[in-house]
Symmetry: C2
Subunit: 477 residues, 2 copies
């Protein structure tokens, strides 16, 4: 039975002006976590959030994470945790967002002042942090306010976890989640994260999977110092020659990974999964638009999405130690370090991938018969994540999308990683849902970041409706 959402929806519409004001105030605080001089603004933003939540009647705490590792003169921004409602008869939903933002300067190419929310005649609200992630975070606050003002009973207990270091590596957050999963977050029945984007601009999606990432370095070294190519070219083994050779054996121009055994680790596609792709609202034009070119590998949207979501990929990012400036320099670099990463998917275990990578690279290097020295190591890894999209958490969100937008959401995965997703899943043992508010054209991290008014206001309705459906969903069998 569909919950009675009309009073809540109407209240959101009535309050839309003040919700946009709330976003305007938040965008005006340049809470850039990567820049030391803005650390005070990150704290200011935490205080803004805490005050707003308190004014709405939530219990709020600002939890210190201590000093910033490697920059001990800086305090890490606090995690703002809040509880709204404490009714044992209601489900408890833990929501995550972040209140810090990427750097932004007008002169980077912004059409408007990045820290002044500017709404154009198409309802696009430009401003740093509008979509990533202040809009979604404030969405939860808006939901509380609209319920209070409409006099509608809040359908769940809400736990909030809003961090201030997401754009700078989420320092200290994983340990915090681990600890609080048995304390502040212990009642959570499910988790909802609103910090990603629709696949396109029209149709909402629910995201149930992310790829992982294993990042490698491979170094080749020979001479004790850089050499002059005139003097030594032809008489010494050159590390760059060897490295380029080894890197050329990793992936072919069609994206096929050449490391033996890697594809054997990949979960085979079921007929069930295969049937999901044709219905996804995505076109090759969408790909070409986002690439700015027609250099896609695959001819169909289905293959493109599979390549992005459910198959591994290998990218070569660059080379450290070689000549990288414009112009011409006749150097033989003494030591060069190639960087590449593999996006991982079920059921690739990091250790298995590492072994295959190391063995392959060492074997290819051995074939070169070079006197240089090769080394290869893992820089970092992060595991893939796939949730059950049949869990009540997803079903509730799906119904909410249908209620608010009149369409069934696309069930999507993403090619990149959002490490906090896995942290919450592992720490709480509960289902995690990614429920995006913004659209694919929002330009998070880029110039002219924006959130469409529709996405913000209807998105607020979506978050509220989701909580109502959550309250009604039966337990999973």
């Amino acid at each position: 039975m569909a919950p009675q959402l009309e009073p809540f929806f109407k209240q959101v519409d009535d309050l839309s002006g003040s919700f946009i004001d709330r976003l305007r105030k938040a965008v005006a605080i340049p809470s850039i976590s990567a820049q030391d001089e803005n650390r005070k603004d990150v704290f200011k933003m935490a205080q803004f959030l805490a005050s707003e939540l308190e004014a709405l009647g939530a219990e709020v705490e600002q939890r210190s994470l201590g000093k910033q590792p490697g920059k001990e003169h800086l305090d890490l921004p606090p995690v703002v945790v809040a509880r709204y409602g404490n009714d044992k008869n209601k489900r408890t939903i833990l929501v995550y967002g972040h209140y810090d933002v990427q750097p932004a300067l007008k002169e980077d190419g912004w059409a408007t002042e990045p820290f002044e929310l500017t709404v154009d005649d198409q309802g696009r609200m430009f401003g740093r942090g509008s979509t990533d992630d202040k809009g979604p975070v404030l969405g939860w606050l808006n939901v509380i306010e609209a319920h209070k003002k409409a006099g509608v009973d809040f359908p769940v207990n809400l736990l909030c976890c809003f961090e201030g270091m997401e754009e700078y590596g989420s320092e200290g957050l994983e340990e915090f989640i681990q600890t609080e999963s048995k304390k502040f977050f212990k009642d959570a029945d499910a988790v909802c994260i609103s910090d990603n984007y629709w696949l396109g601009t029209e149709k909402p999606c629910l995201t149930y999977g992310l790829r992982g990432c294993n990042y490698y370095s491979v170094s080749v070294s020979g001479p004790a110092q850089d050499l002059h190519s005139g003097v030594f070219g032809g008489s010494a083994h050159e590390p760059m020659t060897d490295l380029v050779n080894v890197l050329s054996k990793l992936v072919d121009p069609k994206g096929k990974i050449l490391i033996p055994g890697i594809m054997d680790l990949v979960e085979p596609m079921s007929e069930d999964e295969k049937s999901l792709y044709p219905n996804i609202s995505y076109t090759m034009e969408n790909l070409h638009e986002s690439l700015g070119s027609e250099t896609g590998i695959h001819p169909t949207k289905e293959e493109t999405l599979m390549a992005r979501w459910r198959y591994p990929s290998l990218s070569i990012h660059g080379i450290e130690g070689a000549y990288s400036a414009p112009g011409a320099k006749t150097v033989i670099p003494a030591k060069v370090i190639g960087k590449f990463s593999i996006r991982t998917v079920p059921n690739m275990e990091s250790e298995d991938v590492n072994k295959l990578v190391f063995d392959h690279i060492k074997s290819e290097f051995a074939k070169l018969n070079s006197k240089n020295k090769l080394d290869v190591w893992l820089q970092h890894d992060g595991k893939w994540w796939v949730a059950s999209p049949k869990h009540w958490n997803f079903t509730a969100a799906s119904k909410a999308v249908q209620q608010v937008f009149g369409v069934e959401p696309d069930m999507t995965r993403e090619g990149g990683s959002i490490p906090v997703t896995l942290s919450f899943e592992q720490a709480t043992g509960k289902n995690v849902l990614l429920l995006p508010m913004g659209s694919s054209t929002d330009a998070a991290h880029s110039v002219n970041e924006k959130l469409d008014k529709r996405n913000y206001i209807e998105g607020t309705k979506l978050l509220g409706a989701y909580l109502h459906y959550v309250a009604e969903e039966p337990m999973n069998p």
Copy 2:
């Protein structure tokens, strides 16, 4: 008949203290051509040279080369030209050197102040420019002074061409040489350049050949902007994948150039030439010492020297546009530019090499079936140079070496290029000799640059003796 050199040699020994003082004064002027703030010092050094030459009785002019292209607020340092002697019955020798130096800072790792000549107990004279190229330039002045003070008739007319921009691309010099070859330099019967080094530390050499250099860029571009490897890895053609593939097809790990047709352009080795290599004073230990490793390609010194001097080589210098910093960044670079160069030898013509390079790269890229775009172009080229070591200019220098050092010099080539060599040969049409003063351990361009006292003082004798033998050599048939 050997010329009577004893009075000159004795005078050099007697004046050795004041010759070292002359070098001390020159080193104290930080005539760094690459740094704007030192331009006044480069001018000061020109004035120092001009004054010294005038005091010795030479006719001296400081020739302006105008403003520095691209830095119009800076005047180019003058070319100091001088004539010493104007006797129609004597040969005229044109000598070249440069009075500017590389940058140097104590904190780069110098054991002594770089602009204070510091002589240690092994007679090593440390200081920036000591060996490159102030020592050799002052050597010519010392020769004049010793002749005057010994009352020995100067055996030739001497023309000097000392420039102040050698370490920064010899701006404007080629045109100057071209013009003056018909004016100030028109009487020159041969050219002598002292601006390179012995192959080792004990035995002098005469250098009669240099490799040329063709420097290439190859770019691969695809998407309109850098991409996130999580989002696009596996679904878009990656420029780095293609570039690494193409670069791996240029040269094998043993230094063999893989571009079809390149080796057909190389002059075959004659038995005569082959017989030169075993006698060269050079060992595999010398190679390993200069590499700081045992990563030489060839097992024998002969093959090593041939690879360095008379065969082409191909070095990959680096990649522009890819991620080159330490750490990890999950970027798919949108456009990457590989840099490589080919060291050229007789009889490789630049246009022929270019055609083979372009054809090969385009053909290898076509095999990849990538939708990305490839471009390849020549950044710059400089021709190889080989002089006749049987010319009287070389014979005179060889006899001088035997007279001063008691050994027959090695007849060497070099793997790198000294573009001014070819400029003089082409402009004057005369034989050019490279007659080094310093040794292989002098660390030109590096920290702790030095010139051994022996090399400076015996080198001054060598330059003088060379002029005497020049005066006595019969014309070539």
